[in-house]
């Protein structure tokens, strides 16, 4: 506004390349804030005492031993893996179909379709959870692991859509056109040309969906019958009071999630795409 007051000054170099210590320190502190809780849980999982007290009084593997012999936890892990795999499979099918339609066709309702698919992650999980609960109850549909799967697949679909749509938008349309010009049917073109090219994005979307499903609690809480997924089991035990075994379970969850996220990132990277 008051340009006349700000006298032009000589060129000071590219402003974005200037080093700034306050900025670096703020960034470092933010990473510490993001990771402190994870590190704390991992450290306490090796504590030899029952109380989560600081400083840790001595290290042991006893909580991992107890965890290993805890059949409830193994049942919960088995259920969570099953739910995650089926939900991810459904999300992959629905998400790939949607992404393909959004990328390859022009239609007026495109914004509406995108909005509807994304709504389950715009609205809080509790809304999704109680809405589905009232629906299943009204339909007299008993709650079971299948209702959990339906809930998870619904909010995982948008993840696959985003991943696959990003990949599709990178692919030159001429590949499809060449295939169609050479006489291939649209289905053949998809199977032989498009699908192999978007496969990395589909696989990454599947892994991320599985990870999200494996960790989910807010929606799951309302959709479960008597089955307990791993987060539900932990939640139940936390409400009883902190059991030190929880730290060991949490550590395993953290490390499993980390491995899966790195795997998804590596798959995307090989195809020249990025995870974000």
């Amino acid at each position: 506004m008051n340009l006349t007051n700000d006298l032009p000054i000589p060129f000071r170099g590219d402003p974005s390349k200037r080093r700034s210590w306050p900025l670096s320190i703020a960034t470092l502190l933010t990473y510490l804030f993001l990771y402190l809780p994870l590190v704390v849980v991992i450290l306490y999982s090796f504590s030899s005492t029952k109380v989560n007290k600081w400083p840790i009084k001595g290290f042991s593997l006893r909580w991992y031993e107890e965890l290993f012999h805890d059949s409830d936890i193994w049942d919960a892990i088995r259920l969570s893996v099953f739910v995650g795999l089926v939900a991810a499979a459904i999300a992959v099918v629905l998400g790939t179909l949607t992404a393909y339609a959004l990328d390859r066709y022009r239609f007026r309702a495109k914004a509406a379709v995108r909005f509807a698919i994304g709504l389950p992650i715009v609205l809080p999980g509790i809304v999704t959870g109680v809405a589905m609960l009232s629906f299943f109850s009204l339909m007299a549909f008993p709650l079971s692991k299948w209702t959990i799967i339906i809930g998870h697949a619904t909010f995982c679909t948008v993840l696959v859509v985003n991943n696959v749509a990003a990949r599709l938008s990178q692919l030159p349309r001429s590949l499809d056109e060449a295939s169609l010009d050479l006489g291939a049917t649209p289905v053949q073109t998809f199977r032989r040309i498009t699908f192999p090219l978007v496969r990395p994005a589909i696989v990454a979307g599947a892994i991320l969906s599985f990870t999200l499903s494996f960790d989910e609690i807010i929606v799951t809480f309302f959709l479960t019958g008597r089955d307990k997924t791993l987060p539900l089991l932990i939640w139940g035990r936390l409400r009883m009071g902190i059991s030190p075994e929880i730290n060991a379970t949490a550590t395993i969850i953290i490390l499993t999630s980390l491995a899966l996220v790195l795997l998804a990132a590596a798959i995307l990277r090989r195809s020249g795409q990025r995870i974000f």
């Binding site: 006298l7 000054i9 974005s16 700034s20 900025l23 670096s24 703020a26 960034t27 933010t30 804030f33 993001l34 402190l36 809780p37 704390v40 306490y44 109380v51 629905l94 998400g95 179909l97 949607t98 393909y100 339609a101 390859r104 066709y105 022009r106 239609f107 007026r108 309702a109 914004a111 509406a112 379709v113 509807a116 715009v122 809080p124 509790i126 809304v127 109680v130 809405a131 589905m132 609960l133 009232s134 629906f135 619904t154 679909t157 169609l180 010009d181 999200l212 960790d215 609690i217 987060p231 932990i234 902190i242 929880i246 949490a250 969850i253 953290i254 999630s257 996220v261 790195l262 974000f276």
Partner: protein
């Protein structure tokens, strides 16, 4: 909201070989059916519950405004709604302030390790939310790390008891668990911000502050609004953190009350009515976000 068949059938004519109306219906039939049956219809059923009532264990489906009246006249619910709204607002504003430096660093300063640094930002999103909320319980407790450090440094002599089971504790936990949702859209938009604009402002004598306020901030608004929508929405509906970290009288948030109505209190119609104000506030936010272009372009 729902894409109906006649809408889908209207296409802009386009010469590409894939522009076939039958194709689009075949592709979208399954996803749209799924979303309508398992998401949009359930949402409508939930809304309907708000106008029904509960009779012991069964639901009486005669229209009533009793629940809506209760939500606004009961001595507890309006206070809780306002508290939740203020908490969500405070968490959102704080997240913007925390997210800006790290997003700027990732977008403009990080070179070699950029991809790793970005994965480090998104990883917490994929590690259990429950685990991260629970971790704060062990950090904020009277025997926790925070109190140990404070006592060790001589800043306090007695453990501070109001870190845990308090609004302060919930505020810290919310800021932590939702932070990546703010960093990601902010980073994305800052990454696209042309350096030439910064140089131009710099050459014209705009100092760092003037450049930030007049160039960077206005241009990053879509990212800020998108991140705010996510953080605000997640805080408005959460019931895990209030139960783990709050849990004392005067710390209840609306998510916990709704969860109770669908659980132990078993009053689904009241729970559905309590969700209405959340939905109205969020829908208003979505409309505002759309104005800022925070929800992506609407093509086609």
């Amino acid at each position: 909201m729902v894409a109906s068949a006649p809408q889908l059938a209207e296409f802009e004519s386009h010469p590409a070989p894939t522009q076939r109306p039958r194709g689009i219906l075949a592709l979208l039939a399954a996803p749209i059916t799924w979303m309508v049956v398992f998401y949009l219809i359930p949402l409508l059923i939930l809304l309907a519950h708000a106008f029904w009532s509960v009779d012991y264990l069964t639901i009486d489906r005669t229209f009533t405004l009793e629940n809506i009246k209760t939500v606004f006249t009961n001595s507890l619910y309006p206070t809780v709604l306002i508290r939740t709204f203020l908490m969500a607002t405070a968490v959102t504003l704080t997240s913007i302030v925390i997210a800006f430096p790290i997003s700027w660093f990732l977008a403009k300063k990080a070179d070699r390790n950029k991809e790793l640094l970005l994965i480090l930002v998104i990883f917490p999103l994929w590690s259990s939310y429950l685990v991260r909320a629970f971790a704060w319980k062990t950090i904020l407790g009277t025997n926790g790390i925070l109190n140990s450090v404070l006592q060790w440094s001589g800043l306090t002599h007695e453990p501070v008891s109001w870190f845990l089971y308090s609004k302060t504790g919930m505020f810290i936990t919310f800021c932590h668990v939702w932070l990546p949702f703010m960093i990601l859209p902010l980073y994305t938009i800052l990454d696209r911000l042309p350096n030439a604009l910064l140089e131009a402002s710099d050459d014209l004598g705009g100092g760092s502050w003037a450049t930030f306020r007049r160039v960077v901030l206005p241009l990053s608004l879509p990212g800020i609004v998108a991140g705010s929508l996510a953080v605000f929405s997640l805080t408005m509906g959460d019931y895990i953190t209030p139960s783990l970290i709050g849990g004392s009288p005067g710390t209840e948030l609306i998510g916990g009350i709704v969860a109770d109505q669908f659980g132990v209190a078993n009053n689904w119609p009241l729970g559905a009515a309590l969700i209405l104000p959340i939905l109205v506030i969020l829908m208003a936010f979505v409309l505002i976000a759309n104005q800022f272009g925070a929800l992506g372009r609407d093509e086609g």
